[in-house]
Amino acid sequence: MTLQAFLLLASALFSVGLYGALSQQSIVMIMMGLELMVNAVIVSAAAFWFYTSADRPDGQVVVLLAITAMAVEMAMGFAVTTAIFRARDVDMTDMAADLEG
């Protein structure tokens, strides 16, 4: 087990998440992609802490930050989805494209 291995995992998760965020139409599915990306951040932050700077708490706080950010973003995501669903009965980004140019 090396740092590279963890980072490789993180890269993979990040890319998968990115793919999801880019390719999904449903807002909730996009959010899932984003969560995968956060997951990658968590893994890599933990690995960085462990392998490079375990004497300092920063890495752990980054993990905590990422978890909180994920929660916060998800909550907002649900709220926004609710709002737009109420307003125009859509849950897909493709159908919300009136603002352009």
Partner: protein, 617 residues
């Protein structure tokens, strides 16, 4: 002080009359003649007192006027002729005519001439010189409702101004050459190269003003002005100014040779032109060129005194002749020689005066021009024999045309006409006396055989022409080239018009390729217009100027059309490009979130690559 008053009086009174306009029509003649008298008195006083004045003007270049020997003669001549012409004019114009304008312009014109002949540096000279040109424009185009006369004024002004550019050149060259004050006297001390430039400039300006070759044609058109204007312009002022300037600077070296030959050739060729004119005023105009040619010849050969004499004698003679011609025009309504047969037998004062003038012009002994012209020829002989012979030939021709008009006006029955007022006639005897007698001042130092020779030449010339034209005016209209003032139109067409036509066509072709549609037609029309102008207008006497003007405006139109257009096109291309970019810049904003996502990520990746690449370097 008297010098200031001398130049200020006519300028001020003239300006006043001009500003007052119609309101002053009634008093204009009195004011004008009064002013003329004052000017004459002041001129005499200055000629005696020889004052000189100075006032600061530009950095290191003051206004300085002075009366020296040459100027003394000039101011008196100018003042005298001015007075005579003004008195005559009082009879020429009725109270309902714009007399204020006329007298105002005449006074300003004369004032400018007075400044010209008293100026000691180029700044003052140039100022007066150009004002003279502008007022001559206004005087020639005095009857402005007639487009033809206005055109004549334009041509006179533009031609002389073209030559005037020489004075600007001379001024710059003098400054660059070390004469900071632009004093005319410093001309000889300039650095060599600049001296040549300055001399060349002055010579060109002088030749233009005095209607020497190749500028002569404007004088023909200047005949469209009122007769008193011609009388003043062609005697003591304007054309005389050029001669005066040459006499003043006394060109030497190459300039002297050029000036002398131009003078001699003008005297000969324009004399020949005068020989065949049908119109009395045209005869006189051509003869002016010819006579001034003698002055120029004198200036080129160092005969300043002789040239001055010729100038003075010619001034009296020619003003007299023009006033007579004007009187006949007023009385008989024509200046066509064919219809003037016998005119001299009508009013005896006019007739006799005219005869004296014509004989003097012919160089008939013992009248003034006989003596002065001989002095000029004598100076020419000092320089070179060919020059002398040319001059002699010119003298023969002079006698010829003078004899012709004399014969024509005295033969046949007197035609009926209006009676002339006393103002018309009053100045004539005095001028005739001047024409007859003024020469004796210059008699001293003349060589007897030369005098005899030129006298006989004059007699011979008169004799021959009177014989030729007694029955029928066989000379009138002879020789296309001569009749059309040396066919300057041919020269203009060959050397100015045709090359520029080539250029115009070239530009047009260029335009054809560059520009489409409306602009194209505009260019074609411009070319067509120049073609029309070339074909027809070039035939007339002032072809050169017309063609140049047409070419100028054609080129101007071309350059505007083409350059403006291509600049505009450049600007438009930029705007179009920006417009397209503007549309393009909004394309990414599709409204589709996944497009935003993809674009953002791609750009970020590109930026990363950029950073890594630049970091590796």
């Amino acid at each position: 002080m008297e010098l200031w008053s001398l130049v200020a009086a006519p300028l001020l009174v003239g300006t006043l009359l001009l500003v007052a306009g119609r309101r002053a029509n009634r008093i204009a003649p009195f004011l004008g003649i009064g002013c003329g008298v004052v000017v004459a008195a002041l001129a005499v006083a200055s000629a005696i007192g020889r004052p000189s004045v100075n006032a600061p003007m530009l950095t290191g270049i003051p206004v300085s006027l002075a009366v020296d020997e040459l100027s003394a003669v000039m101011v008196v001549t100018v003042a005298g002729v001015l007075l005579a012409v003004l008195i005559y004019s009082a009879g020429e114009f009725g109270a309902d005519e714009p007399r204020a304008r006329f007298f105002g312009l005449m006074l300003v014109f004369a004032g400018a001439m007075l400044v010209t002949v008293t100026a000691t540096n180029l700044l003052v000279l140039l100022m007066a010189w150009e004002v003279m040109g502008a007022t001559s424009y206004a005087l020639i185009g005095f009857w402005w409702r007639d487009e033809h006369r206005v055109n004549s004024g334009n041509i006179a002004f533009l031609t002389t101004r073209t030559a005037d550019l020489g004075l600007y050149l001379a001024a710059g060259a003098m400054l660059a050459g070390g004469a900071g004050g632009l004093a005319l006297a410093d001309l000889a001390q300039l650095l060599p190269g600049w001296r040549d430039a300055a001399t060349a400039g002055i010579v060109v300006a002088a030749l233009g003003k005095s209607a020497q070759l190749p500028f002569s044609f404007w004088l023909s058109r200047a005949m469209d002005g009122p007769s008193p204007v011609s009388a003043l312009l062609h005697s003591a002022t304007m054309v005389a100014a050029g001669a005066y300037l040459l006499l003043r600077i006394q060109p030497t070296g190459w300039a002297g040779v050029v000036v002398a030959w131009v003078g001699a050739l003008t005297a000969l060729l324009l004399g020949a032109v005068a020989l065949v004119q049908r119109d009395l005023k045209q005869v006189l105009a051509a003869s002016t060129c010819s006579q001034v040619g003698f002055m120029v010849l004198a200036a080129g050969t160092g005969g300043t005194t002789a040239g001055t004499g010729q100038l003075v004698a010619h001034a009296a003679t020619k003003s007299l002749l023009f006033l007579c011609a004007g009187a006949w025009l007023a009385a008989l309504g024509t200046k066509d020689l064919a219809r003037l047969r016998g005119a001299a037998r009508g009013d005896r004062v006019v007739g006799m005066s005219f005869a004296v003038g014509a004989l003097a012009l012919a160089g008939m002994p013992p009248l003034s021009i006989w003596i002065t012209k001989d002095a000029v020829l004598s100076a020419a002989l000092h320089e070179s024999v060919p020059l002398y012979l040319t001059g002699l030939a010119a003298a023969l021709v002079s006698a010829g045309y003078a004899g012709r008009v004399l014969m024509l006006t005295w033969s046949g029955a007197a035609p009926d006409g209006k009676t002339l007022s006393w103002q018309h006639k009053a100045p004539l005897p005095f001028l005739a006396a001047g024409a007859a007698l003024l020469g004796f001042e210059w008699l001293s130092g003349a060589v007897w055989w030369e005098l005899v020779l030129s006298g006989s030449v004059a007699v011979a010339g008169i004799a021959v022409t009177t014989a030729v034209v007694r029955r029928q005016d066989a000379l009138a209209g002879r020789g296309r080239v001569l009749n059309r003032w040396l066919g300057l139109e041919f020269v203009a067409q060959r050397w100015v018009a045709r090359p520029v036509f080539g250029l115009a066509r070239l530009l047009a072709r260029f335009d054809d390729r560059m520009i489409a549609g409306r602009v194209d037609r505009g260019a074609a029309a411009a070319v067509g217009l120049s073609g029309v102008l070339a074909r027809f207008d070039d035939r007339v006497v002032d072809g050169g100027v017309r063609a140049t003007a047409a070419i100028g405006s054609t080129v101007a139109r071309m350059s505007e059309v083409r350059v403006e257009f291509s600049l505009e096109r450049l600007v438009r291309a930029v705007t179009d490009g920006v417009r397209r970019l503007g549309r393009l810049a909004r394309r990414p904003q599709t409204g589709q979130l996944h497009h935003y996502y993809a674009q953002a990520v791609v750009i970020l990746v590109v930026l990363t690559a950029l950073l890594i690449v630049t970091g590796l370097r």
